[in-house]
């Protein structure tokens, strides 16, 4: 092995190590100086290695200065020449298989380290899609923050409600509907959370996440203005029409001693459209 070749190999190995170290430093949120130095070693190692390889280990040739005037389409022989020129270059690289492999390794490690800053773009999802701002005892308020009292909600009315303190919250929006008491067909545990025909569902359509803006009082159905998914309010908001695949999660509520409506906890399931981690 030539001396130059050993140098190139050393530089590529250094670059690989630096790139992998960069990966680790980034994940541990290390300081900017360390990131800068490692980036320099990784990029500079590949760069210097390539320059030495080219300068010390590859031949020079002589060519005419003026480009040949090009009038006719390339002949078969010229095309063959072009292929051979490209192949000769590839062969030249192949002659030092060891260096080529080190180079691929270093470039791969650098690519990996370069991808990682994408992680900075946003926070991890964790469980946030499984929960909303609703907690046990949270008062139901309208968008301007006024608590909703049971006696003021009329039959067939449709009110958008939020947990107190989070008016306007995107994932906690819910609809409060009053139907004729006794007309709800829910399992007993759900029925207990819908006192006096007051039933609350998530307002986010389980299809594409649009807010369910339309209430068809005649058929007691909620309809999404985006893609016409329709949910039956009486039987637990099961989809009866359109592309929505799942019922709307229900919010179990109770009527407080002061007549104010309060949540008994979070929704009965994750709100909005389906996602991979959902069982």
């Amino acid at each position: 092995m030539k001396r130059a070749e050993r140098w190139v190999a050393l530089l590529f190995v250094l670059a690989t190590i630096a790139a992998l170290a960069l990966f680790v430093v980034y994940i541990r949120d290390g300081n900017a100086q360390a990131q800068g130095i490692l980036l320099f070693v990784a990029l500079g190692g590949i760069g210097a290695g390539l320059m030495i390889w080219s300068h010390e280990l590859m031949p020079r040739i002589k060519d005419e200065r003026h480009p040949r005037a090009k009038a006719e389409p390339a002949t078969e022989a010229e095309m063959q020449d072009a292929v051979e020129v490209v192949e000769a270059g590839v062969d030249e690289m192949r002659r030092r298989r060891f260096l080529s492999r080190l180079l691929i390794g270093a470039a791969g490690a650098l690519g990996l380290a370069a991808l990682i800053p994408i992680r900075s773009l946003g926070r991890a999802p964790h469980d946030s899609l499984f929960s909303t701002k609703w907690t046990r005892g949270a008062k139901l308020v309208t968008v301007d923050g006024t608590p909703v009292t049971a006696s003021t909600v009329e039959v067939d009315s449709f009110t958008t409600v939020f947990p107190e303190g989070y008016a306007g919250s995107a994932d906690s929006q819910a609809v409060l509907i009053r139907v004729q008491p006794g007309s709800l067909q829910l399992p007993d545990d759900r029925l207990a959370g819908a006192p006096d025909g007051l039933v609350v569902y998530s307002k986010i359509c389980t299809h594409a996440g649009c807010p369910l803006g339309l209430y068809l009082a005649a058929t007691q159905e909620l309809r999404c203005p985006c893609h016409q998914s329709t949910f039956n309010v009486l039987d637990g908001a099961n989809p009866v029409y359109g592309p929505a695949p799942r019922p709307l999660p229900q919010l179990l509520i109770e009527i407080g001693g002061d007549d104010v409506l309060r949540a008994m906890g979070d929704f009965t399931g994750p709100v909005g459209p389906s996602f991979w981690d959902e069982p």
């Binding site: 946003g122 946030s128 299809h207 594409a208 649009c210 203005p225 016409q228 989809p239 991979w276 981690d277």
Partner: protein, 472 residues
């Protein structure tokens, strides 16, 4: 002569005279349908000009403020800085409204012209070898153009655009394995996120235009280098083209068309209201307007979502959301099919030849049938994307209209394809054919000053007469 000195000077330094001669005498075929791509190009230029103006005033911030501007219905309402800046452009910046509306109209023409250009190239076989790369880049331009449009109309932070973003977020979220992460990374968290508007702005005014500009450059360079296809005719063969030279005839014609395009778009921007975000109101996550329709070029996507059945798959304790197929997979497959078409067609027909002729649609009944089926499919999807509006117009129930569409989406493309195929065959059968191949006589000047005659037998010369419509 000043021109001679400039050309000589360029030649001495850059060997330019042969380049100038070759390129200024370059010929553009004259068929009207060749201007569709030009329309897209000039719309893009106007988009850059008007967009630069808008960017000087737009504020990409979701932070809220109380509106105190001159638009009375919004006074005292809490709006985002982004929405406020769009109202400012609309009502306070001089020439702001005409710039905004011209920008929107230009975006519509940009995509419409690209689609029309794609249809023209498809039906005339202009994508065939050696022009497959131009086709692929063109399809990439259409995809980028739709992306530019979507990011653009999401910027004003009005109610309609917020609804579109919510649907896009849900579609990303439905992707198996990585969907939730992707959505969180791009939006900065759970919808509506905190990072969205600045990122949309970077995409809309930097990344996507850079991609569009680069692709347009390569697309034009390829057309220039490879020359246009042209219909066979007098003076136009596989080897020669007759038409308008770049200098001066085409240069004037093209510049003229550019100015007419600009003129029409500014007229539209001045007198035809488009995307009146001041009527939609600011985006709030708990309200959606009815009806909600995207711009036309996203209508087929919306239609797919509206017609797709409510299928959801559960595998190994995980969920593949309903939106994944119609919102991600099907659009991806449609674009993949567009990209692959030139290569697929060549493979099926075992056609490796170089083609410089533009075909008449009738010459390829199968391709034309497929094209007609595709057009029917897309038109129906666009209707489906506006099903509530159309149903109201027709005074029928949306659900009834949906049922009709769900049947038509399968039937209509087949019917359109078969009818087109049949019409093409019929036209081919009744095409006029040359009564007999003419013989040609070659005259050669001889040493005595006279002429020698040489008769070429039929079929040896190259040219349009050699050409038969290809067999079905």
């Amino acid at each position: 002569m000043i021109i001679k000195r400039v050309v000589d000077g360029m030649d001495e330094r850059l060997d330019a005279s042969s380049f100038i001669k070759r390129n200024l005498r370059k010929v553009f075929p004259d068929h009207w349908s060749f201007m569709l791509g030009e329309l897209a190009l000039y719309s893009f230029v106007l988009l850059l000009l008007t967009g630069t103006f808008l960017a000087f005033f737009y504020v990409a911030s979701p932070d809220t403020t109380t509106y105190t501007g001159p638009y009375l219905p919004m006074q005292g309402r809490s709006v985002s800085l982004a929405y406020e800046s769009v109202l400012r452009i609309t009502f306070e910046v001089r020439a702001g409204l005409v710039m905004r509306q011209t920008h929107h109209w230009a975006a519509l023409l940009f995509t419409a012209a690209m689609i029309a250009h794609l249809v023209r190239v498809f039906f005339t076989g202009a994508f065939r070898k050696p022009r497959e790369f131009s086709w692929a880049i063109g399809v990439g331009l259409l995809a980028s153009g739709i992306g530019a449009g979507f990011t653009g109309y999401s910027l004003p932070d009005d109610l309609l655009s917020g609804t579109g973003l919510r649907i896009a977020y849900s579609a990303v979220q439905s992707i198996p394995f990585i969907g939730t992460w992707l959505a969180f990374l791009f939006f900065g968290g759970e919808f509506p996120g905190t990072e969205l508007l600045p990122r949309l702005l970077v995409l809309h005014i930097f990344l996507i235009p850079a991609v569009l500009g680069t692709l347009i450059g390569v697309h034009l360079a390829l057309v220039w280098h490879q020359t246009h296809t042209a219909f066979p005719g007098p003076g136009t063969t596989e080897d020669t083209v007759t038409g308008t030279p770049v200098w001066p005839k085409f240069a004037l014609k093209a510049t003229g068309l550019a100015f007419v395009t600009f003129g029409v778009l500014t007229l539209l921007g001045g007198i035809f209201q488009i995307n009146p975000v001041w009527l939609y109101g600011p985006f709030v996550p708990y309200t959606a307007s009815s009806p909600s329709q995207p711009d036309f070029y996203a209508g087929w996507l919306e239609g797919l979502l509206r017609l797709w059945p409510n299928w959801e798959f559960h595998v190994f304790g995980h969920t593949i959301g309903e939106l994944f197929l119609p919102g991600v997979v099907i659009p991806g497959l449609i674009f993949a099919a567009l990209w692959a078409w030139p290569f697929l067609e060549a493979r099926v027909k075992h056609d490796r030849a170089i083609h410089h002729y533009t075909q008449r649609p009738r010459e390829e009944p199968v391709r034309s049938g497929v094209g007609a089926a595709g057009i029917a499919f897309f038109l129906l999807l666009m209707l489906a994307g506006a099903n509530d509006v159309v149903a109201k117009f027709l005074q029928i129930e949306v659900d009834t209209f949906n049922t009709v569409l769900k049947i038509l989406i399968f039937v209509a493309p087949v019917v359109a394809g078969v009818i087109t195929w049949w019409i093409c065959h019929d036209l081919l059968a009744h095409d006029e054919r040359p009564i007999a191949e003419p013989t040609r006589v070659r005259f050669t000047r001889n040493r005595d000053g006279g002429f020698d005659e040489e008769h070429e037998p039929p079929g040896t010369q190259r040219g349009p007469t050699e050409r038969e419509p290809s067999a079905p």
